[in-house]
Amino acid sequence: MWMYFGKRILLGILIVVVSVSLLYTMIHMVPGDPAKTLLGPRASPELQAEIREKMGLNDPLPVQIVKFLGRVAVGDLGQDVFKNKPVYTIVFEQLPHTIYLVLSGIGWAILVGVPLGCVSAVNRNGVVDRVIGLISVSCIAIPTFVVALYAVLVFAVTLKWLPAIGAGDGSFASYVWHLVLPAFALGLGWVGYLSRLVRASMLEVMGESHVRTARAFGLPEPMIVLRYVLRLAVLPTITLIGMGIGILISSAVFIEIVFARPGIGRLIFDAVTSRNYPVVMGSVLVTTILFVVSTTLADLINAILDPRLRSRR
């Protein structure tokens, strides 16, 4: 067990190192001098040299990567030369907005998706099951940014029920009010995912002997479903959400742009459009770490719950 944990964590670290190196190499393959790109064509050679030195661009690439990794290990993501602020500060100012968005999106998806899957499984192959199945697959198939655009069009522009852009005037109530549409758009696809997954895993659990035993004892059906089936069947959803954090972050980029919200997705988008490499590196790195940590955690939780997985390659 510990062996598996150790291996899995080591693999997680290794993946971060490899992906950071890939990204670093990619960014430095870009034609032209990053210092020149950063400062514009009219910068003096002295200033360019200073920035080159500051960014450590005079070392050979492998040395730069190792130095960068060393700095990352102690939490230093570099300096944003535009704003003259540490990248760390900038990223962690924006990160909470994205986390609130992701949590509220996935939150409502769980509240709706799990019961839907449950109803679907109980009415297996009935009309209700088919309708829920159709809705779920449709929710999964429709791209998040299209949902977001249609949501703005219907609820903000046409009906004027909810605000279309921004994150509110600073008060808690207005923040939450501005979160409603973005969270709806982000979570809709997950309602489908979760309902499909819960349905499938419930059907699997329903065939197991402890459920048959519970039935044989004459327990009422609702009690069997809620207490003996659903309890086990929701476990895979933890893994799905852990694995899905990458998709969630990707969707958050679109959501934050459509709704003009602050957040890490918007930060990366702005950094890319202004070719602000230190911020691109820092924020992509943080999201990658977030992603690797959550998938690793999901894997470990899975291993605790299902010992069969540990022996697999």
């Binding site: 993946i15 990619m26 791209p143 655009l149 969707s251 980029v253 742009i257 890319v272 992509v284």
Partner: protein
Amino acid sequence: MSMQEKYPATSTTRDGWGAFLHGLKRVMREPLGAVGLFLVVVMVFSAAGADFLAPYDPNQINIRAKLQPPSAGHWLGTDQLGRDIFSRVLFGGQIALQVSLVAIGLALAIGLALGLIAGFGPTWLDNGMMLLFDAVRSFPTVMFALAVVTLFGPSLTTVMIVVVVTQIPIYGRLVRSQTLALRDAEFIQAERSMGADFFRIIFKHILPNVIGPLLILASMDIPFVITIEAGLSFLGMGVRPPTPSWGTILNDGYSFIYNTPWPIIAGGLPVILTTLGFTFLGETLRDVFDPKLRKDI
């Protein structure tokens, strides 16, 4: 009778065309499959025939007729430059189809080759490639796309690079696991003991067993690729204007959302219908031909 004739590598007894018709019938029997197939056929034909079907040149500007609602002259209205949205939607379908076919095709070929190498190669190579695959997969797709756009600038080629690189690990993994499972199977050992060379084993035995699930997986990836293309173009990081793409139509529509709802409705519907169509069709194909795949996804 040789071993080969007695135990054919695949269980298909029909010839190619017959098997195709039989499969088509089975897909059509499922309501979702029929709807999916219908949507996909409509999409493919309207995209392929855009040159004949489009009533206007998609880039023809007519400022005096800007932001019009749907009418007999302009079925889906016009955009902020007075361009006919219906024509732009048709040509946008061409871009979507082109990206999906080219990019998925490339990713399939490379993923297949890498997966076979990983499956047949020494353990260290296998482990190294799996690590690389995991590293590539560990970037959220859009983050990766944004990083690539920073490097190469926004273009259709950039979109394809993103799709190819992010899809290779998926196909590579599938091929690798199938290859590993087959490598030591009895019928392969028998072949080997009779002196079959490496290429015969791969092309005659491994490939026919791997290609089915791979194609089903690929067909289920088409909506994802269409979403990526439309999404990146929407962000201004994909197809460059004035080339019509569903994403750029949506982007234009978003800028004028308070003036007219039609560009957004017109740009979003084809995305929704096409992704739905391919999803329905892909799911049906999977359920009909390879129910085992269901567990892996």
